[in-house]
């Protein structure tokens, strides 16, 4: 039995929105090389909606699939809707993740949120209302396990 769902494999083998946006409106980076996964999200915002999104990811198969899925989920959404994307939603869209890979889905949502923060800060609107999850995540700066 393969460890990953067909959906995860699809997004791993054919990741959507890989790359970088020059002059992005917001950039969010989470994770670090020591932990083994790192994601950078770039967004373009138009009329309060995510007009374009790209990512670069260093990490395992799950981390890459999560990044791809998060980018798809974010595209075209309003910033408020983007804020509401939770790791559980990402995992569900991917038809599940192995137990010890759930932290990857946290990272995806975090990176996207950080890109929105960055956009709002650049607009002079401050980081905006951070979700509770984001505030909690920021406290957990060490490598997550499982």
């Amino acid at each position: 039995m393969p460890i990953y769902s067909d959906k995860v494999m699809d997004h791993f083998m054919n990741p959507r929105n890989v790359g970088e946006i020059q002059n992005a409106d917001g950039v969010g980076e989470v994770g670090n090389p020591v932990c083994g996964d790192m994601m950078t999200f770039y967004i373009k915002v138009k009329d309060n909606r995510v007009d374009d999104v790209k990512f670069k990811t260093f990490g395992c198969g799950a981390a890459i699939a999560v990044s791809s899925m998060v980018s798809e989920m974010a595209k075209g959404k309003t910033l408020e809707e983007v804020r509401k994307i939770t790791p559980d939603m990402v995992a569900k869209q991917l038809e599940g993740l192995p137990k010890n890979k759930h932290h990857c889905s946290n990272l995806g949502a975090q990176a996207l949120n950080k890109a929105v923060d960055d956009y709002l800060a650049k607009q002079g609107k401050g980081p905006g209302v951070k979700s509770r999850r984001r505030q909690k995540d920021e406290k957990e700066a060490t490598c997550e396990e499982g």
């Binding site: 090389p33 994601m39 198969g61 799950a62 010890n100």
Partner: protein
């Protein structure tokens, strides 16, 4: 699609001759070897023949061989059983920093039971220096365990020199030879080893069959309490087909060893010599020459091992990695860490282990398939991005 199995360190396939030798013991020869009738006698004969073959493989006497369920069981029994049997002489145990978990965790269990533990460091090639072993020895050291060869990086230890240092101190010397036995010459008599663990599935025998060699005169306590099997040291009804398979695999390994080693070394070197000219920013892990014949292990920068394994699998290639993400516990490999390899680099670990069924074309398949995989993942990697930007900025 061409399927190429290069994960022989995980387990080797069972040779047809080994399977043939085992089959009668799954069919008509079903007796219990302890029984006093023809059914028992027949099976007992099979076991004793296997014992002789395993002893011959490692230069031991048949009565020094105990059959177990695995390398893990052999290591558990050796570490716990040998230390506990000698504890009136002292309660200090020494093992290397790159041991298999079945040795390391057994040693930790001893620590909880009141023993003291010293871990011997290794150098950047994964070599244990006999001088470092000597430095770790104390008057109350009762057991030293240093693995013969490391599965993950392939490095083979200078066993005879290490054994000499340990024997001078009077401590008992055990070696985990699970990766070595059946693959390279291993001789307990010549080397001066007191106890040695091996497993059949590392040299074309079945899974679930291991052995522990305990030299005559060395005391050991059993892990299990029970009946008279294996002289009471390893009770439980014998895994007869497994034992017979182990014996057959040992016989074939002994006969075929020189040609197997020559074949595997050529395949390994083809990869070790060929990959660095096709992929930049990568390194060989382990010793260049003092290494297992079939083992080619690397760390590749800026990308992660599990993603490489998944893409290799898509190309029909089975390999493995010491990357944290591939381990269930998500911990970086303690072997690579002990060798001083930075954690961020150890995430890019990749291990190819050839077996006797592999051919040159299998190595070539890797040489062709891996570079585009690395390129694809690096294109996606923010680390590689940063590195390129820094490089451009620096020029």
């Amino acid at each position: 699609m061409t399927k190429v199995y290069l994960d022989n360190a995980a387990t080797t396939p069972v040779l047809p001759e080994v399977l043939e030798a085992m089959l009668p013991y799954l069919r008509e020869a079903y007796g219990n070897p302890q029984s006093i009738h023809d059914w028992g006698d027949e099976v007992r004969e099979g076991i004793e023949e296997a014992r002789g073959r395993v002893a011959a493989l490692i230069g031991a006497s048949p009565e020094e061989i105990l059959f177990t369920s695995s390398g893990t069981e052999s290591n558990n029994m050796a570490i716990k059983g040998l230390a506990m049997a000698q504890q009136s002489k002292g309660k200090h145990v020494v093992v290397s920093a790159i041991e298999h978990f079945s040795v390391l965790h057994s040693a930790r269990t001893l620590e909880k039971a009141g023993f003291e533990l010293t871990l011997v460091p290794v150098d950047k090639h994964g070599l244990v220096h006999p001088g470092e072993v000597a430095r770790s020895l104390r008057p109350d050291t009762v057991l030293v365990s240093i693995m013969w060869a490391n599965t993950e990086v392939g490095t083979i230890q200078p066993m005879a020199e290490i054994a000499r240092v340990v024997k001078e101190s009077g401590a008992v010397f055990h070696t985990d030879a699970v990766a070595a036995a059946g693959n390279i010459p291993v001789d307990v008599g010549q080397t001066g080893v007191d106890a040695l663990s091996l497993a059949a599935n590392q040299f074309y025998g079945p899974k679930g069959a291991g052995a522990l060699c305990v030299k005559r005169g060395i005391r050991i306590l059993p892990l299990l309490d029970g009946g008279v099997q294996e002289g009471g040291r390893r009770p439980g009804t014998e895994n007869v087909p497994g034992i017979v398979g182990l014996g057959k695999a040992a016989e074939m390994a002994k006969m075929g060893m020189p040609s197997r080693m020559k074949h595997l070394t050529a395949l390994r070197d083809r990869l070790i010599d060929g990959l660095p000219s096709r992929i930049d920013h990568m390194m060989l892990t382990g010793h260049r020459t003092q290494r297992l014949p079939g083992s080619a292990s690397f760390c590749i920068e800026f990308i992660e091992g599990e993603s490489m394994l998944m893409l290799l699998n898509q190309k029909g290639i089975a390999a493995s990695s010491g990357s944290a993400c591939t381990s269930r516990a998500l911990k970086a490999s303690h072997v690579l860490t002990a060798m001083g390899i930075p954690v961020e680099l150890s995430h890019g670990s990749l291990l190819f282990t050839f077996g006797i069924a592999n051919a040159e074309s299998d190595a070539d398949h890797v040489l062709e398939s891996l570079p585009p995989i690395v390129e694809r993942l690096r294109k996606m990697s923010p680390l590689y991005d940063k590195f390129l930007k820094q490089e451009r900025g620096g020029k």
